[in-house]
Structures are given as structure tokens and as C-alpha cells.
């Protein structure tokens, strides 16, 4: 092992203090050794990407539900306030807009 010319050249490069020379020796040594991941690496990345997407949808739904619920509560409060201001009541009839309709008007449909 000690007489490995590749190692000798590399050590000589490092001892010279010339970074460019040393880099050339390193690159020559590694030139014909392109590392590869195990077969199926690309499929593994795509599978993880897909499961991350699904996970983000699952995480997104409860967050979205909170906003939808908050918007619903705000709309209900606005409706109650507007009804109270216009009808001076927030009874079910006032909310439905039928508090000023008499039974006779309903039966005659003459509203």
C-alpha cells in the first residue's frame, strides 16, 4: 500500500502547497469513480415527495377548517347585529324576517 503511486502523487501535491496541483491529483484519482445511489433511488425520492404532498394536505385541512369556522362565526355575529339594529330583536322570527307577518297574512298569502 505504501508504494501506491496515486497516494504518493497526492501526498506530493499536498506537500507542494499548490492547491491547484493537489486538486488535479484528487480529481484524477476520482475521475473514473462516479458514485451512484442504490437502484430505486429516484423512485424513493418520488415516493417521499408524494407522501409529503399527502401529509401536507392532511395537515392543511384542519387548519383550513379553523379559518372556515372563524369566518362562519363572524358572519353569524354580523347577521345578529344587523338584525338587531333593523328589527330591534334577535328572535327566531326576526332572524327569519317574519316577525311582522300575521297568521292571516300567511294563510291568505297576501304579504
Amino acid at each position: 500500500m505504501a508504494d501506491n503511486d496515486n497516494i504518493k502523487r497526492l501526498l506530493a501535491g499536498m506537500e507542494s502547497g499548490d492547491d491547484e496541483r493537489t486538486a488535479r491529483e484528487f480529481r484524477d484519482l476520482y475521475a473514473d469513480a462516479a458514485p451512484e445511489f442504490a437502484p430505486g433511488f429516484v423512485d424513493g425520492v418520488m415516493d417521499r415527495l408524494e407522501s409529503n404532498r399527502e401529509a401536507s394536505v392532511v395537515e392543511f385541512l384542519p387548519r383550513m377548517f379553523k379559518w372556515v369556522a372563524a369566518a362562519g362565526v363572524a358572519a353569524a355575529v354580523t347577521l345578529l347585529v344587523m338584525t338587531y339594529l333593523s328589527q330591534e330583536s334577535i328572535s327566531l322570527d326576526a332572524l327569519a324576517g317574519i316577525n311582522e307577518i300575521s297568521l292571516a297574512e300567511v294563510s291568505s298569502l297576501d304579504i
Partner: protein, 170 residues
């Protein structure tokens, strides 16, 4: 349809750049399952960062930056888990090689990989980027997000240590 098309394009990108990422993570972490995991995570992070990717760096350089940072994080975690030195344990597993030029080169590469594994991660990263991956000193500084002067001083110290380790190993 667009998503499927994006998926196909991204698959092609992973296929094209996997060797570059493998070079970085295997030399930083050794031929371990962890390295493969970091390799996958590199592409996942890149995919998430695609909307912000302005293209002012080459895709390969951008992937290298992610890969080296994830590798350094993995090495920190390894150290925390007191598993540092796992790579060094491969010392006894060095194979015997014949005398052909290809075999001698393979033997030399194994020795250098072994010596790299014994270097401090900060030193290892500059050797991998500057010497093996062929980035310039300026690019190495940008990838590692450290000053140019720090790269130069780490390079000098890293080469000194690597030389000592290689001499001991041979």
C-alpha cells in the same frame, strides 16, 4: 396534468443530478444508508425550495449546498448520538487489491475515503468541495456560507491532517 408533467420533469432532474449529490454525501458520510437518506432529503428540500429558486446559481451548485449542509447536520447528530467513528471502523475492512492500474487507483481511493472519514467534518467539507468536486475557493466559501479566508485556512489545516492520516494508513 400539470402536476404529472412537473413530476416527470422532476424525476428527470433527480436522475440527472443523483450522481453529483451521491458524490457529496457518500464522501461526507461514507457508503451508509444514512447517506442515501440524506441524498433523498436533498432532492425533497430542493423541490420545496423550487418556487424560491431564482436560478442565479447552477442547479448542481444549489443541490450541493443543500447536500453538504444536510451532511454536516447528520454528522453533528451522529456525534450527539455518540456514533462518531462509525466510518473509521471500516479500517479493518480494506480489501486487498491486485497490481493493475485500475485496482491501484481503487485502493488509493479507499485509503483517501478512509482518511477523509477521520477528518473533522469542517475540514472534510472543504476537501470534498474544493479538491474532489472541483469548486473554486470562492464557490466553496459560498456553498458553505463562510468567509474566503476561513476556506483557505481550513484547506491548509485539512491538507496537513489528511497528509498525516494517509502516511499513518500507508
Amino acid at each position: 396534468m400539470a402536476r404529472r408533467k412537473d413530476g416527470l420533469a422532476f424525476r428527470e432532474l433527480v436522475h440527472r443530478y443523483q450522481s453529483k449529490v451521491a458524490g457529496v454525501v457518500y464522501r461526507m458520510l461514507g457508503p451508509t444508508a444514512e447517506a442515501e437518506d440524506v441524498g433523498q432529503e436533498t432532492f425533497i428540500r430542493f423541490y420545496s425550495a423550487l418556487p424560491d429558486f431564482r436560478g442565479d446559481a447552477a442547479i448542481g451548485t444549489y443541490l450541493t449546498r443543500i447536500a453538504i449542509n444536510l451532511s454536516l447536520n447528520a454528522l453533528k447528530k451522529r456525534k450527539r448520538d455518540r456514533r462518531e467513528g462509525a466510518l473509521v471502523d471500516h479500517a479493518g475492512e480494506l480489501r486487498r487489491y491486485g497490481n493493475s492500474e485500475a485496482e491501484r487507483r481503487q485502493e488509493a481511493r479507499e485509503l483517501v475515503d478512509l482518511a477523509l472519514a477521520r477528518l473533522d467534518p469542517n475540514f472534510r467539507s472543504v476537501i470534498v468541495l474544493r479538491m474532489i468536486e472541483g469548486y473554486s475557493t470562492k464557490e466553496t466559501a459560498e456553498i458553505l456560507n463562510i468567509p474566503l479566508g476561513t476556506v483557505l485556512s481550513r484547506m491548509k489545516r485539512a491538507q496537513g491532517k489528511l497528509k498525516d492520516i494517509l502516511k499513518k494508513l500507508t
